[in-house]
């Protein structure tokens, strides 16, 4: 499997990433909210969020700044459909974006 396919498929199949995508699908949420609702350790959640954001699977919708100067980012899921298929000896990861203005689905082929 190609490196990029492997990375994306691992990210989509990861339990914590799955929870984050589910929780941010219908409304934007902060990392703290996600941790409180899902029980994901905060440091783990931040690491996943960074990986998901880098892959474009989530995006930061807005950033609030608390009076104490702390930033609080709200993320929303960008994925509409994700498919991992194995056909004729080839793996394929296909992502359809919720934002239909974006380019067509990512297709990562081996």
């Amino acid at each position: 499997m190609a490196k990029s396919t492997l990375k994306l498929s691992r990210l989509l199949a990861d339990e914590y990433s799955g929870r984050i995508l589910s929780l941010t699908f219908s409304q934007p949420r902060s990392v703290q909210e996600i941790c409180s609702l899902s029980g994901i350790p905060i440091a783990v959640a931040y690491r996943r969020m960074i990986a998901l954001e880098a892959s474009g699977l989530i995006k930061c919708l807005r950033t609030d700044v608390s009076p104490t100067g702390k930033r609080c980012k709200y993320y929303i899921c960008q994925v509409d459909v994700a498919r991992l298929t194995f056909k004729e000896g080839r793996f394929e990861v296909e992502v359809e974006w919720r934002d239909h203005m974006r380019a067509d689905a990512i297709r990562v082929l081996e």
């Binding site: 440091a43 959640a45 690491r47």
Partner: protein
């Protein structure tokens, strides 16, 4: 005369109930902030000790208790104040979150929290949060339990480690007064955050302990030495160990930086759900043992000490009772146990045969048992000492069977009431007669058949100990462990008891 240090009463800090080592309390009360690691495996009493420390210092140091086990109902029963404090912490946490949200972003709306002039520097905490936010920090194993520490769903905007920030807030709001922060346990908190425990400890040590003068207790879930040990100013390890058939609990003080440690090891009990340190190196001079005011059941004879009667129901008549004595026991206690036993039976006019385990001055016998008639007392003495003591029966010291001939003893006891009492020191007999097994048993058998009471005192060095243990119906063992006096029943098996003098009278307290 000054009290020699070696006999000094165990110095403990009594709380509402229970007692903690004085060294530990002094360490937390000494100037400046201190971190203390309370380490121990499951069930060793770490949480109880941490909560009791909060109680002991509650008058002087406001506290913040963060537990991964706050829903433990049993703890609420032991520490009724705990539920209220935990709820208060939750309210404060929610309240602080609300206040922060209500501030204007330009900071124009001030409130009490911001008006505090004394601040706790949060450099390490901010650094830690920054690293978490950047995704730079994580545990190697990320698949551990992911429950929140307290089940709370309170979300503080912009706060990555809300429980720790709460500790900082409380320490800050109490300044210049010292706060006691207790994290129970640091491993559970680290797991909840998904960061290494040492990062939490390091941040709190540098910010709270070293810069803000806060006391921080880290409860840790293992007694093993590890790389976290160097982070604490003090380390206390709680252990459970097996002693005979019993469990013994110990507190080991490994270090208390800047404080002197007089006793590095204490035995303790968790009786009543409280840590109670067992007294050690007790001063037992002039000890008096109270007699049993209650009637014992038929077939039982009193030990002359209500505490022994309470634990064992007295000694069985028509049977052998073996009292095994370990090394290092206070002589005052052993002598007083013997005297109380003998005195009890003399008061009732019963015939007493006594071959003492320890040499004693016959002239002091009456002084040791004031007001007690010695008419029915017969001290068996093979030595050549002589004097005007009618209660001393001289023995030849060559043939035990001959010296303990029943007809001659019966003659001695003819004016005494039954059942008779025979108190024999096995080591003393062996030192005079050599191996005494079969010949001694002749005497024991005759006493048993007559329904009398035979108490044999032996040390672990007695040659005949094992044989006589087989013959005994009741076998007790007194021993010295770490300077504390312990008692346990070997036959029948009982839990271990420790001698306690905190109320001024000697009591056997269960080692639970």
């Amino acid at each position: 005369m000054p009290h020699p240090d070696v006999f000094a009463r165990c110095d403990v800090s009594a709380t509402n109930a229970g007692a903690l080592p004085r060294e530990m309390i002094d360490f937390l009360l000494s100037p400046g902030g201190h971190s203390l690691l309370i380490k121990g495996d499951a069930g060793t009493g770490k949480t109880t000790m941490a909560l009791q420390t909060i109680e002991a210092l509650s008058e002087r140091q406001p506290e913040y208790y963060l537990s991964s086990r706050v829903s433990d109902v049993a703890l609420y029963h032991q520490f009724p104040w705990l539920k209220e404090r935990v709820e208060k912490n939750q309210l404060m946490k929610a309240g602080m979150a609300f206040l922060r949200r209500s501030w204007n972003s330009d900071g124009s709306k001030r409130n009490a929290l911001e008006d505090v002039e004394l601040r706790v520097e949060r450099r390490e905490l901010n650094r830690l949060e920054g690293q978490i936010e950047a995704g730079e920090l994580g545990m190697e194993d990320e698949e551990g339990p992911s429950l929140n520490a307290d089940g709370s769903l309170t979300v503080e905007v912009g706060s990555i480690l809300p429980e720790l920030e709460m500790a900082y807030d409380i320490a800050e709001s109490n300044l210049p007064k010292k706060t006691l922060v207790v994290l129970d346990s640091v491993e559970a908190l680290a797991e909840n955050y998904g960061i290494p425990a040492y990062r939490i400890m390091n941040a709190l040590q540098k910010d709270l302990v070293e810069k803000a003068g806060t006391n921080v207790i880290f409860v840790m879930e293992t007694a093993e030495r590890n790389h976290l040990d160097y982070l604490g100013d003090g380390i206390i390890v709680l252990r459970n160990s097996v002693h005979g058939n019993n469990r013994i609990r110990t507190i080991e003080i490994e270090k208390l930086r800047g404080s002197s440690i007089r006793n590095w090891k204490y035995l303790f009990t968790l009786e009543g759900g409280r840590v109670t340190v067992v007294g050690r190196d007790l001063d037992l001079r002039g000890l008096r043992l109270s007699t049993n005011p209650m009637e014992l059941p038929a077939g039982r004879g009193s030990f002359g000490w209500s505490e022994l009667d309470r634990l064992f129901g007295g000694a069985p008549l028509g049977s052998l009772t073996l009292v095994e004595v370990g090394a290092g026991l206070p002589m005052d206690l052993l002598e007083r146990i013997d005297l109380s036993l003998v005195e009890e039976h003399l008061r009732k006019g019963r015939g007493v045969l006594w071959y003492p385990q320890r040499t004693f001055d016959h002239s002091s016998t009456q002084r040791s048992m004031p007001g007690t008639s010695l008419e029915t007392l017969h001290v068996l003495d093979p030595s050549e000492a002589s004097g005007p003591w009618p209660f001393v029966k001289k023995l030849e010291g060559t043939d035990l069977a001959n010296d303990l001939r029943w007809d001659s003893l019966k003659y001695l006891l003819k004016d005494s009431k039954e059942p008779y009492l025979s108190v024999l020191g096995l080591d003393a007999l062996e030192s005079v007669y050599g191996k005494v097994g079969p010949k001694l048993m002749q005497h024991v058998d005759l006493m048993r058949r007559g329904g009398h009471m035979v108490v044999l005192e032996a040390t672990d060095g007695s040659a005949g100990l094992e044989t006589l243990s087989h013959q005994a119906r009741l076998h007790l063992r007194l021993e010295n462990l770490n300077g504390s006096v312990l008692l346990r029943g070997i036959k029948p098996t009982t839990i271990c008891y420790c001698l306690d003098m905190t109320e001024g009278v000697p009591l056997w307290k269960p080692m639970l």
